[in-house]
Symmetry: none
DNA sequence: AATGAATGAGGATTCATTCAT
DNA sequence: AATGAATGAATCCTCATTCAT
């Protein structure tokens, strides 16, 4: 087959974990969705717990890489913000389950040290951007992680509604949300 | 006894569901935390599923009532927004588990019709406020639920960070967040 | 009921472990034989492994106590030997599975520290008897544990044959075996 | 290659079965120890059960042949006994796992008709020797299989202790054990 | 009303066996 | 011939629920 089984397992698990949470998802469910035998999952992952952790790390790194791709090195904070936001949108649109999975599983009791540090690394990248903006007097002087919360929280919340069919996504709407988020954290 | 058992069960379940999710929480865990026998839970609730649903409805209604309490009937949108925001803060501070529980359990597969409609009713109240503001040209013309997402998403995200000890809450910070959220959705 | 469930589980497990070994015995098999639900076993024992260990310790201690019961304090080695041998017979006859279980499970990879030390304690009691006999010049000067091997090995082997129906036990036969074992290790 | 794969599989299985029992040994364990693929085992043996049976028969026959090799046709029972005993020692020393495997797997539920009859054939050879000795009034008049139990049980028990490092084997010790076993069953 | 021992259906995981390469 | 990835039946174990006390 074209895609290999590990990838199918990742894909199936991602969707199920995003929709039903870790504990609400059974290994047989994943196996069925991935069209593999239940035992096959254990050829690729030591345990269900190791599967979530691998998946979490993989997906956070993909998110991180998406955001870093073509990151503008110019000193234009506004431009950097827009870039980050639209790359988040790109990521969310290409893989909504990944976004929801990351959001609902970060801070979970079954995540291991490495998963947490990968996630922290990702967050630190965002913090760095905010910090630079604050130095330049572009952003509000609130704590950087508070500012990230505002943008990230709003963003995820928005895509959850899209996913549930309660908001129809359009380019103009995205544009409006981007502007709102910018307005939320810039100095006024 | 001073507090009755049903209340203890609700309290224990709320904390556990917020921290470990519905499926990650077992009935014996709840029983132990509530200091009752496992069987006792079934005197008050038909099943675990009926317990989450009851709890969800109860907690959403409390949230809703908190927000509606002393709601300013003046026509000052800015004042109404501030009221709603600070009542959300009051609710979050008095019962952080309730906030996290609502956030992570809304849209879950085990919620029944009634739970969903209670939650929708709550959201509609917020939508109404937004709609009025939009009519007056105070808020951005983005869809109302998108605007709610921004404020609600930012707010919850912020309190999650507080709960995880990553942000220290101060009156000034709350004030700053309120202003950010307002800036996010007002016409600029 | 007169006997409690833990005792029924012990009894069922003992027979099955003796007949089919630890790994050849499944928890449902034990549950069925003990006439309890499979889950009930886990109310009494943490795991299958903890069950074998508990059982092993219990049974070795019973064997040990049987042998020590009415142990003659006289200085007659011949009398002490006869006592030990007949108490072993008594134990084997009252609970053949216990004897076979001890024999086939001692030195197994799943036995824990405590099980091993209980077994060693039992063996040391036998060693002490042999040592005293050797001091008095009654027993062969071979290493004590070698002498024990001869008697114990012969004894267990003999009762295995009885268990398999290949030897019919009679008082005279037991008497003959006791004498043989004595002859095996005494000075000639 | 110098040794063929079937031989490697036999060797690996023998050690593992002796150390961990049939059910405690997995086919992949055997494959790894034999340095072959798991599937390869099924080229040589129909199933795991057929492997134990083949192995059991092979090993019992080797034991049997070892004992019969150079069997003294003289009428000296003492000499015959010594021969058998020392050949058992030779076998045990050359392949301790074989001895332990035979001992712990005889009478197991997964042995088939043929395995049982091969084992019985072996035992009958020993019985014949004993019977002859009894006719001549050299051995005790106890049942022949009881006498075999004494010698065989003592012998195996002794080599188990050697295997577990609790007894150090020396020529003098072996000599002493042989004499003990003889004393155990001869007329006194 | 309250309990917690008991249950068995269902979960995570293992493993004998197959089969495409 | 040899492999080892793949499978699913069978393990061990958990947990929602019941019920005798």
């Amino acid at each position: 087959m074209s895609t290999n089984k590990q990838e199918e397992i990742y894909k199936a698990a991602l969707k199920l974990f995003a929709e039903r949470d870790y504990d609400g998802t059974t290994v047989p469910m994943i196996a069925e969705a991935a069209k593999v035998g239940a035992g096959t999952i254990y050829r690729y992952f030591e345990s269900k717990e190791s599967l979530v952790n691998s998946l979490f790390q993989k997906v956070v790194m993909e998110f991180s890489e998406t955001i870093k791709t073509d990151f503008p090195n110019s000193n234009e904070i506004r431009e950097q913000f827009r870039h980050v936001f639209y790359q988040m949108v790109r990521f969310a649109k290409s893989n909504i389950y990944a976004l929801l999975f990351i959001d609902s599983h970060a801070e979970s009791y079954y995540l291991n040290e490495k998963s947490r540090s990968v996630f922290d690394g990702f967050m630190n990248f965002l913090v760095a951007i905010i910090e630079k903006g604050k130095e330049r007097g572009v952003f509000s002087s609130l704590p950087s992680n508070a500012l990230i919360c505002i943008v990230y929280g709003a963003f995820v919340s928005f895509f959850k509604e899209i996913q549930h069919g309660k908001i129809i996504e359009t380019p103009e709407l995205i544009q409006g949300i981007e502007r709102s988020c910018w307005n939320a954290i810039r100095i006024d």
